[in-house]
Point group: C2
Chain length 678, copies 2
Amino acid sequence: MIGGRRPISGRKPGDKRIRVDRVHSPYFRYTGRGQLTAKAAASAPTTALGRFNQRVKAFLLGRPLANEEEIGQRLSKKKALAIFSSDAISSSAYATEEIILAFLLAGVGSAAFSLSIEVSVAIAVLLGIVAFSYRQVCIAYPSGGGSYSVSKANLGRNASLVAASALLIDYTLTVAVSTSSAVEQIASAVPALHDWTVVIAITAIALITLGNLRGLREAGSIFAIPTYLFLGSAFLMIGLGVFRILFMGDTGPTPSPAVIRVTQETATNVGILILLRAFASGAVALTGTEAIATGVPAFEPPESRNAARTLMAMAIILGTLFIGITFLASNFHILPMEFPKQTVIAQIARHVYGDTVGFYLFQAFTALLLFLAANTSYIAFPRLAAVLGEDGFFPRQFAFRGDRLAFSTGILLLGVVAGAVVISAQARTHALIPLYAVGVFIDFTIAQTGMVRHWLRTRELGWRYRLAINAVGATLTLIIAIVVTSVKFVDGAWLVVVLIPTLVAAMRFVRRQYDAQAKELEVRDDLVFQRPHREQRVVIPVNGINRSVVQAVMFGKSLATDPSLLQAVYVTTDLDEAELLRERWERQLPGVPLVVVESPYRALVGPVITYLDVLDMAWPPDKEAPTTIVVLPEYVAKHWWDRLLYNQTAKRLKGELVGREHTVIADVPYRRTELREA
Amino acid sequence: MIGGRRPISGRKPGDKRIRVDRVHSPYFRYTGRGQLTAKAAASAPTTALGRFNQRVKAFLLGRPLANEEEIGQRLSKKKALAIFSSDAISSSAYATEEIILAFLLAGVGSAAFSLSIEVSVAIAVLLGIVAFSYRQVCIAYPSGGGSYSVSKANLGRNASLVAASALLIDYTLTVAVSTSSAVEQIASAVPALHDWTVVIAITAIALITLGNLRGLREAGSIFAIPTYLFLGSAFLMIGLGVFRILFMGDTGPTPSPAVIRVTQETATNVGILILLRAFASGAVALTGTEAIATGVPAFEPPESRNAARTLMAMAIILGTLFIGITFLASNFHILPMEFPKQTVIAQIARHVYGDTVGFYLFQAFTALLLFLAANTSYIAFPRLAAVLGEDGFFPRQFAFRGDRLAFSTGILLLGVVAGAVVISAQARTHALIPLYAVGVFIDFTIAQTGMVRHWLRTRELGWRYRLAINAVGATLTLIIAIVVTSVKFVDGAWLVVVLIPTLVAAMRFVRRQYDAQAKELEVRDDLVFQRPHREQRVVIPVNGINRSVVQAVMFGKSLATDPSLLQAVYVTTDLDEAELLRERWERQLPGVPLVVVESPYRALVGPVITYLDVLDMAWPPDKEAPTTIVVLPEYVAKHWWDRLLYNQTAKRLKGELVGREHTVIADVPYRRTELREA
């Protein structure tokens, strides 16, 4: 096998250098009767190519970790804030811009600036309520899973699957939106990169995916520093900006014609629908609030308390940042620009820091933070997929951990889907925003409703107070979910509305398959299985006489308990050739009958299968049908191109045989040295 | 299996409605001792999905044909002219244009018109010589294969592989060039389609590929009519045009400014290099001349004579057409136009027929003929690939015929590669021309040189005369091959110069693989194989106790000749669970030892393989190592999505096991109804 394993080199069967009763010791240790524990060497590749592959993998992903090392992967509060909060905090980089854009598109003139502060304060209040509600989730559900766990425990399967679907969509969009926004920040600082945004975004997603395949701890260490750099420089910017507005009468940079036009328009009467649209746009600031509740088990013990504290810290930081940035944008009269792309936050930073290295550093930190935000989803998405895999709603391979204790399948899936989303949105943040908040608020609503049920059920100490908090949270987030979906429906929210039930249906379908399989395979506990009960018929399709065929025939002969149930089958279009073969066969392989099947339509697979069927049909009606063992000679591929050159026919035959009743397929791979002439 | 076959419905084993000794009769008939002949029903699918697939395939491709029907697929001379000559004849649609373009790009002014006639006459003379040389190939090599067969017989392996590579490149370019030119003819008539040329070209290639998968005869019937329609309307155009020039003093359409500029430029002194470039460009008219010699076996008997006559008819028709069209273009002062695309032949037709339905019909016929020309390669390329497959230079599947007696693999490969070439050249004929003639003339040279050797070797009646013809042909085509390669080198001919040795190396490589395999597998004719010689160890990797596992264990038990060589292996990360399993195992499956392997690194495949290695190493050094049979329980996929949900682990394990020494893999697929409790 390519890149595969051969018997351990230098330790051939019968090698006398090592005592036979100690050969296992480099690879296993005995840990009980009939019980071994594998050492790392037991998984080590033994071919040159295999070792090379492993070295490449170790270089890219790091060395494999044993299960016991997992506890060391837990996150401190500071690291957890960096990882789990980057999503929420980073939304300050685009939420203000979305509010201003919503007002601009509604044509409300200079009211855009004053109203955006009011809207941002309203959103910050909402953030406080949601965070406070989620704080209770961290405490009540230390096993993580967030709204999925909560709703599973309190609201039943359907609600929990809706929550899970909404979360999966959200995590994917977090990657796409954050990466797109990061690239826009970069393009704002370096306009020359304007045409390369999609390429940069895809490269970033690929690198983040790779980083996460390496496992959790490294992610925390690498990513903690830039988060704090962003927070430092952002608060510095807000401080400097507020100081200049309040005490120096700064009214922002020299206004462009577009800004002059907007500021000179009189504020018209702003309708409720316009306010709602602006609110719905800015509500993306709340995305990521649930991340900490989902990731509680990744915290250092005591997990719940640490998570709750991190959550509250995050809410305060985010609220302050968001209001601060909106305040600056409003007082500096800053509008988003498209050609060349200039984000609102970049324009603020350029004004406050000037065109100095400070501005470029701030843009770099912002972009880094946004990439970290994308990284948040790489923790949460695979964990949720693994929980769903364990619950049977996702294919089971999502619950397997890879070499580095990371859920590799989930990480890869997220990377691929998010990459596709970024490409189809051409890495434009604004195009993705209408899809983004919908799932978040659906999810909030389900989680808070679940908590209401939780308190009603448990009636723990102080349950009335806690219930009240969650009830307020549930009602508010439900209203906002409806508002966001309605006002953004035609802009893209409809897609989420379609996608959630589709995902729910798919997950229910997967679960139904696994349930059916388990039921089908179930064995009663009191049965004792004693002996095989069927006769065995051995059929060997052959293409002539060669060493591979002879080996297969010898093996088939050793299987056949009854020689009359053994035969080789040769399918041909040329009967003369078949006669020559028969003459040679009977001389060289006596005792194995050869059946020649002429196939005028050149079909090979069909006649073989039908021949097996005919054998079954011809079996005496009063006896039970035998197990058919089809022995397939196979030529071992030594190189990748061998797959193209050999075994094409065997492959097709095997494909048709799997699933035939009472049929076992025995692959007899031919390797040089195997056959001995007798 | 999906779309696969189940035991024939209503004919279960033990079914008493049919006499046991007659059950074979609907599917096979006995044709000798131990010999059956399959009827069509033996390949008929027996599931609903299988039948549906077959019906779709029959609709797209037609019903399967038996080998005996092949003779009915032979081509009459008229049909063969339509199929094999369309390539050569169709080059008249672009050869004139390429000559004029070559002169224009050299800036020779009005000399472009007068010189192009002289060049075309020279090319027509060359065509006559080449055709006359190839006529002798048809007669001497009735088995087809053209220059490949000739050079294999006379010049040895390397020359024949160079010829084969040149031919394969040529056939592919024929498809690409003809399709591109056809689309340019369409765009010349309907300028609105100018932006859709690539899409139309790819669609056309897809349809032609599909048509050829249906088999040869239909191709002949469908395609004979348009060829004759083109010939009729083209000769009518030439006749009318010549009449108007000679007797009515017609000097062409109202000249455009570009034409006036060119015609007013005095003819400068035209250097030999310019003449050579024009000649090399026009030499594409000769492409396709070899097609008939390659396809001799497709003719009705007497194959050689019919092919030779068809070849001479083709040369006369093409020569006349080519000179005629160039004469008209020259006297009408017509230049190729790019925006919008107006081919030379389209401008001639528009002038002669006026803007009437006649013009549009002529354009349609020309485009159809060019599509037919592409079709020529769909006969020749797969046949050559099949010959190369039989000779071991191509993977063997190229020599398998499909249901419709067509070489499906070769047809598909040609379609894909030609499609890729068209896309990368953006369906522009002119971009492909520099690559096109190089291979053709290399091929001509090799074939003619081979014929010279042939006459020297056989010295048949009149060999001196025949040798002289081929020697002239060989010399001339060699000179032209050198000229074409030199003057077109930087424009793309270098690609062919690189590609030919690459293909030769690849084919030699494939052949070396097959030779090595055959040698490796060879069995001496005098050996008699009597008995199996190895003990059998049975190892069953299990994931718990379920019906699928129990079935595999029962099967494994029936294989194990020595109970001490039978064991089940359970790899786990959880030893407590393993203890529970052991208790249940020993109660329910007595007599089958269970080995538990703890795997702290969560690896599954590695520990299993290493455990097998350890078993081999622990085998007594003085005894021969046993065959290891790894019995794999497999859950049968009923639906396509099952492949994603189940057997992922078994698949990985199998991949690593194939090629392990002394190892046989026994797949035990689980189907409901199979297991009986004892």
